[in-house]
């Protein structure tokens, strides 16, 4: 099957692997390798080609680098996942770039680049977070189900030995439709391009590349730990969201604003007509916003 195309999506010009905590992290790039670098981090269950339309719109001015998070895309799977390990991977890729970087992240990646900027210190210059402001606060009911959720985690870990991989789908289109059900705002044409690179073909059919164990997580982390993480950020932050309600987000401003309250150099922007996948739905508008903000003094 030939790789699907999508208007505006450009094949990465370079591909590399960077080692981090014993895993190979897959990295793709667009633009002049000598230019100032933008490092892009995708959302949960997504992959580096999440930026395949946005990146070319910025690649005339910047070296645009996008990574596959561990367990996603063509990066290796881990036996267990942890937010801090994702941050370590971003730091490792920035170390491989070896020069100052601006960081751009979407959803999960948006939250990660905020922590990565803190870890990188002066090597990170400016930070763009596209609708990655965390889940809603825990309700009392959810809080009361802490142990029950943990028991569910134990059950899933027990099953892992007997179910180490996804079941195969006969046709790629089935994966496209599954993703469509979760992201109804994304066009079939984009999803065919995006899901093709999120899937691998074997003799028995198509499977997701992303590690199924990514979904098996538990621990004491709480959404009220988000605001203190933002409050220590010294870097300029562009916080972007779409105007339209979507499966995930945007969170009500009554939740987002207090989380960003401690950011010293904050710019907020809304892209009209976009849902959660702002840079996929409105790449030109998103690129123009980022370009203007990065180039401003």
């Amino acid at each position: 099957m030939a790789a699907p195309t999508y208007p505006g999506a450009v094949e990465p010009q370079r591909e590399s692997f960077v080692e981090s905590l014993g895993l190979r992290i897959h990295v793709v790039e667009w633009g002049d390798p000598g230019a100032e670098a933008l490092l892009c981090c995708h959302g949960f269950w997504d992959h580096a080609r999440s930026f395949a339309v946005l990146a070319p719109l910025l690649a005339d001015r910047w070296r645009v680098v996008a990574l596959d998070a561990r367990g996603h895309g063509d990066s290796q799977w881990a036996d267990a996942y942890h937010w801090g390990a994702h941050i370590r991977d971003i730091v490792a890729v920035a170390g491989w770039i070896g020069r100052p970087v601006h960081l751009i992240g979407h959803s999960m990646g948006g939250g990660q680049v905020v922590d990565a900027a803190y870890a990188l210190g002066a090597q990170a210059r400016k930070v763009v977070n596209i609708d990655g402001f965390g889940p809603p606060p825990l309700s009392d009911e959810e809080e009361a189900r802490t142990v029950e959720r943990f028991t569910g985690f134990l059950e899933q870990r027990r099953l892992l030995a007997s179910r180490p991989d996804w079941r195969p789908y006969a046709a790629l289109e089935q994966l496209v439709q599954r993703r469509k059900a979760q992201n109804p705002r994304l066009s079939d044409e984009w999803l065919r391009y995006f899901v093709f690179h999120a899937a691998r073909r074997a003799d028995d059919g198509w499977r997701w590349k992303a590690d199924p164990t990514l979904a098996i997580g538990t621990g004491p982390w709480r959404p009220d730990w988000i605001a203190p993480a933002y409050a220590r950020l010294q870097h300029p932050l562009l916080a972007v969201n779409g105007s339209e309600t979507d499966t995930w987000g945007p969170l009500p401003d009554a939740i987002v604003a207090p989380r960003l309250e401690g950011v010293r150099r904050l710019t907020r922007a809304t892209i009209a007509g976009a849902g959660h996948f702002v840079h996929m739905e409105k790449p030109r508008e998103t690129a123009a916003l980022i370009r203007d903000w990065l180039e401003a003094a």
Binding site: T146, F150, G219
Partner: protein
């Protein structure tokens, strides 16, 4: 020693006493292994099993360098899946994992004894905001672990352990014994006392209270 499948790797499970009677599962401290229990198994009137957590002793290392107490508890849970209900005793890191397991599997853990040891406090009651998310993975911040232990296991000494989180598990547990010898009592331990019995003296005698 038995190799127990768990996740994508295998764990080392040691049978330290084969006596008939109720089963006791021992969970070692951070940097430890099943070899650390000395004469203690002889004090239990039944079968005694001791697990090596992943990255420790004879168990596999986890690919990708991530270790959490919740993963440790899931490894102990793999033993429950294999042998059925067990009383559990854990030291340090193993004590915290025993608390999680005793809460999460109250139907299969009739009683748990929490003992002092390395990795008892973790990183304290909440994240260290000044060090950041990555701090957890900075193995160099911790005293070195013994040879043979995955150096990444050091992150098991700096994960946040909020008292309110621990209390959920202490409430759910059927019977919780906290062995107090005048040493450190981290915030999660203090919170768990509300739902536990504090014990002291000779550990071998205390073990029998798990029956």
């Amino acid at each position: 020693m038995t190799r127990l499948r768990h996740g994508r790797g295998a764990l080392a499970l040691h049978e330290l006493s084969t006596s008939s009677g109720p089963t006791l599962l021992l969970l070692h401290a951070l940097g430890g292994s099943a070899a650390e229990w000395g004469e203690l198994p002889a004090a239990w009137p039944g079968r005694v099993l001791a697990l090596d957590f992943s990255g420790h002793g004879g168990s596999d290392r986890l690919r990708g360098g991530v270790y959490t107490p919740e993963i440790c508890a899931s490894e102990a849970d793999a033993v429950l899946a294999e042998v059925g209900a067990c009383a559990v005793a854990g030291a340090g890191l193993g004590a915290y994992a025993a608390l999680l397991l005793a809460g999460g599997r109250a139907d299969q853990v009739p009683a748990a004894l929490l003992l002092p040891g390395r990795g008892l406090a973790g990183g304290g009651a909440q994240p260290d905001w000044t060090r950041g998310a990555i701090a957890l993975l900075e193995a160099s911040q911790q005293p070195p672990l013994p040879d043979g232990c995955d150096p990444q296991c050091a992150m098991l000494g700096s994960d946040p352990r909020p008292p309110s989180y621990a209390l959920h598990f202490a409430r759910a547990a059927r019977r919780l014994l906290l062995f107090e010898d005048g040493g450190e009592r981290p915030p999660w331990w203090e919170a768990s006392r509300a739902c536990a019995v504090a014990v002291g003296g000779d550990v071998r005698d205390v073990l029998r209270q798990l029956l």
